[in-house]
Symmetry: D2
Subunit: 138 residues, 4 copies
Amino acid sequence: MTATLSKTFHFPVQIYYEDTDFSGVVYHPNFLKYFERAREHVIGANVLNQLWQHQQLGFAVYRTDMLCHDGVEFADIIDVRTQFYFESKYRTVWKQEIWRPNASKPAVTATIEMVCMNKKRQLAPMPIDLINTLQQQA
Amino acid sequence: MTATLSKTFHFPVQIYYEDTDFSGVVYHPNFLKYFERAREHVIGANVLNQLWQHQQLGFAVYRTDMLCHDGVEFADIIDVRTQFYFESKYRTVWKQEIWRPNASKPAVTATIEMVCMNKKRQLAPMPIDLINTLQQQA
Amino acid sequence: MTATLSKTFHFPVQIYYEDTDFSGVVYHPNFLKYFERAREHVIGANVLNQLWQHQQLGFAVYRTDMLCHDGVEFADIIDVRTQFYFESKYRTVWKQEIWRPNASKPAVTATIEMVCMNKKRQLAPMPIDLINTLQQQA
Amino acid sequence: MTATLSKTFHFPVQIYYEDTDFSGVVYHPNFLKYFERAREHVIGANVLNQLWQHQQLGFAVYRTDMLCHDGVEFADIIDVRTQFYFESKYRTVWKQEIWRPNASKPAVTATIEMVCMNKKRQLAPMPIDLINTLQQQA
């Protein structure tokens, strides 16, 4: 298990009515949704589903530190950029960014820590298979 | 079990940033959220929680027919008005409305049907206790 | 302007954590979000944005009549099927369905009416250009 | 303008279906919504609305640093505790916590920075009136 940063994964998100608020830009908690969708694509929604159904394990967000540099607007197709590393067998750390089209710097940046937990919400080690799969595609 | 309409229950909802979209008014799917919150207050969130945890029973929305007559704005405190009746021991029907402050007619009106289901999503009769409780406060 | 139903448009939506509730399936108001996303893809998010910014026109949902036949689950990739017709120069009607993978019938069906409005929320006729564009791709 | 922490404001939030996900607890981005609702109650939704409509000023979230210590469940009525201070005439910092009923420590803690902006999303000083009003109730 290496603590080095993975490659950068790219995930596009289109901004719909539901994402904005009356100030005209994306409502800030929604950025955490896009980051989660992007992480689910890195890990695999089916992998997460199997993990939960068959091994009673899931990932819980422990910490999110997010900086909003720029507003994101309706009809934008943003690029969610994701890198991650293993901090321990219990914990992964994700460096994520949101880029608007043709931007020269990210609109939003975040560091997000996730821990592996069982259904009683007790800390649990990630299964070796999952770690291996994630390391291979990293 | 009577099929007559209950009294009208009132439930206030304040409209926050999260409720609006960039057009400046409440994003229409959110009205279904307010209707559900109001129903949960009629039935009791704890009652619903006990029903799910101990009897593996829940209410699923089967049909929603909603008319949006007027926009609802940020900082409004709306009055969600709710009446219901039992259509059968499996099914309740809810007549719900959203009123803006000082309005002479509702901004949104809806008819919502809910069915009682077990965790396998099979139709199940509502427990007698629940029916009695609901009828008493109706 | 013809009142005949358009062809069927297909739009895939992946179900994420954010879409579900503790009962284990998609929270029903979210279906209205998926229907709206699909409509935005038929009309074009950029077209909608231009319409709003330059002509002060938008579409408001006037009525939604939705039937939920079946639960939709985490990690599903659903197919949102959309047909529409013009009821008048002010109003479009949308027949929309949600299909789970390999399903033999839709999980959710809906009829949704949208009206064209200006920023003061007064009824306004759809621009001819928009009607023509929609009719051509229909 | 003092940089000292305000008193603690309390704001109750009931957890509904819409707040949870299929893992059984509150979906983490929703905590940012509750924090925002609580801030809107400290500042006043009508004050925010006037500021936006008449002075073209609003508050944008610049940074959120959130720690999720414990899951929050359906039917919980949480206590959102809020303190704030002025860092400058452009910026306020908010210390916010979520407490479950009868808990001995907070379930979620966060530090949130907000900046005052005009409608072009340029940094703008908070109006003196607003600063005075906030300081008086602090």
